[in-house]
């Protein structure tokens, strides 16, 4: 532990890695809270895979991969909505069709176009190779996400909880949906460095689901989800560094461990307390 702390003071790359992964943990938790409450977990997975062709194209034409990724992410969201609304294909099937196609295009583009892109790094991330420009990008994305959620908290809450009521007083639900999609894409892009395309969905869903088990207030759920995301990142980075393990996978497993703790021991929903309560009830009834 002390050695890790000294290394942290010593190595700039480690500081950048820590800062970036904490930021990613926080924004994944915040956006993830809305994703799970809106039943969009599968879309989160889809968007994260769909940024791949965007990343490849950005490398090919030499722009920051952020722009390409956001564009293909949003095209995917639109494509899913379009198929869903114009045919009898259900939403989950539409998601499956569109994102696997986008992912396949991405794999081919990366294989053919430029051998200098490391597919593994995009798929699984490597937080220890975060550059300063990546760190700044994550910070800017984080600021946009947090400010949007703070300013439009009221609207996000009501359109997530009761969209018909929201529409009845004139809130543009569709616009809100696409704003969340854009934020989701940006968060995914920011997470590429730390956990990679494949595991982003875990960072979106697991900390938020853990928080969901622990509270009955949305704002507190968001705060807890951000906290769990950050804690997973810190502990995950530590073990990844000390034992030389792949960072994304370790971070995700720490998040999963936190979820399991809440799942079994949460005072309200935890399996343990529930079974204790049932036993107590049975005892009282028998008396």
């Amino acid at each position: 532990m002390i050695a890790f702390y000294q290394d942290l003071l010593h190595y700039e790359f480690l500081q950048k890695a820590l800062f970036t992964s904490i930021m990613v943990g926080i924004i994944c938790g915040v956006i993830g809270s809305f994703i799970i409450l809106r039943g969009m977990a599968l879309i989160g997975d889809a968007i994260s895979h769909a940024v791949l062709p965007g990343v490849a194209i950005s490398y090919m034409i030499g722009i920051n991969f952020f722009y390409g990724a956001v564009i293909t992410g949003i095209l995917t969201a639109l494509g899913i909505g379009y198929i869903n609304q114009n045919s009898r294909i259900k939403n989950d099937s539409a998601i499956g069709i569109v994102f696997s196609a986008a992912f396949a295009i991405g794999v081919i583009l990366i294989a053919k176009a430029n051998s200098s892109i490391n597919l593994d790094r995009i798929l699984f991330g490597n937080v220890l190779s975060v550059r300063s420009s990546d760190m700044w990008m994550t910070l800017i994305i984080g600021a946009i996400v947090l400010l949007t959620v703070i300013f439009f908290y009221k609207e996000l809450l009501v359109s997530t909880f009761d969209p018909t009521f929201a529409a009845a007083y004139g809130l543009p639900n569709k616009l809100i949906h696409y704003v969340i999609m854009i934020l989701l894409t940006m968060v995914t892009v920011a997470s590429l460095q730390t956990v990679g395309v494949i595991l982003v969905v875990a960072m979106l869903i697991t900390p938020a689901a853990t928080a969901y088990l622990l509270t009955n207030r949305l704002w507190f759920m968001i705060v807890l989800a951000a906290l769990f995301g950050a804690i997973s990142s810190i502990i995950g980075l530590y073990y990844s560094f000390v034992y030389n393990l792949p960072s994304g996978a370790v971070i995700v497993l720490v998040a999963t461990a936190l979820f399991l703790l809440a799942f079994f021991f949460s005072p309200k929903q935890g399996l343990l307390w529930r079974s204790v309560r049932t036993k107590k009830k049975t005892v009282t009834i028998q008396k």
């Binding site: 409450l37 009221k154 009761d162 009845a168 007083y169 207030r217 949305l218």
Partner: protein, 247 residues
């Protein structure tokens, strides 16, 4: 001059299949109006298309001479209970507080006065003791009362409730109907989608009888006629007769 709520030639369809065919009616404001008809008659569809929640193919609705756009913030809508995610992390009082959102507009947060007003609305439906519970911990009738409290919090002039009395306890039904009658006496206009025909006579001033098209609208007595009901309910009619709906 008397003001009216008017619907003219309203038609709606789902996936190319017509759900409502050229509905027209007009009611004075300040009435408690029941919308009745068999399953699949388009009762919910009627209020949703009046409120612009689903696209209509043709027709228009006006509220006291004003278009939907102008009165939107004067409309309180209570959705069917099945449309709500009752596991959502929100407490009872906070759910009622949502009723103050329409008039707050974007960026402004509810104030302390808004919270107190929400609490008052909870008291009106007799649910203040449950203000700190998560909404899913309530019974069906209590949930419906909380949503009525949210509608009250909106300080609206027009109320639209989608099957508020389905599957709820007797006390809640009484509380809800009393509040709706009070609102009516204050001059508010209230539309209620309703499917249990046994008490329509007691509950409503006017009725809209639907089965994809308008069968009849007007005062309760003029609508509750055997031949009209037969036309609307077709196969189910003899059952209604034995239930004593027309006595």
């Amino acid at each position: 001059m008397k003001q009216t709520i008017e619907v003219k030639n309203l038609s709606t369809s789902y996936y190319g299949k017509e759900a409502l065919h050229q509905i027209s009616f007009s009611f004075d404001t300040g009435k408690l109006i029941g919308i009745i008809g068999p399953n699949g008659a388009g009762k919910s569809t009627l209020i949703k298309s009046m409120l612009g929640l689903i696209k209509k193919d043709a027709g228009e609705a006006s509220f006291a001479g004003m278009s939907l756009k102008k009165v939107r913030k004067q409309i309180a809508y209570v959705p069917q209970r099945a449309a709500i995610d009752w596991d959502f992390p929100i407490l009872v009082l906070d759910a009622v507080l949502l009723g103050t959102y329409p008039k707050l507009g974007i960026f402004r947060r509810p104030s302390k006065a808004d919270r107190e007003w929400a609490y008052e609305c909870l008291e009106k439906v007799g649910m203040e003791a449950h203000s700190k519970k998560q909404i899913g911990e309530l019974s069906g009738g209590q949930q419906q009362r909380v949503f009525l409290a949210r509608a009250l919090a909106q300080k609206a002039d027009f109320f639209f409730l989608d099957e508020p009395l389905v599957g709820i306890d007797v006390t809640s039904e009484e509380v809800i109907m009393n509040i709706l009658k009070d609102l009516r006496d204050e001059g508010k206009s209230i539309f209620v989608v309703h499917h249990d025909l046994t008490k329509v006579g007691e509950y409503f001033d006017d009725l809209i009888l639907l089965n994809k098209k308008l069968i009849k609208s007007g005062p309760v007595k003029s609508v509750l006629q055997p031949e009209l009901m037969r036309e609307a309910y077709e196969a189910q009619f003899s059952l209604l007769d034995t239930m004593g709906v027309f006595s």
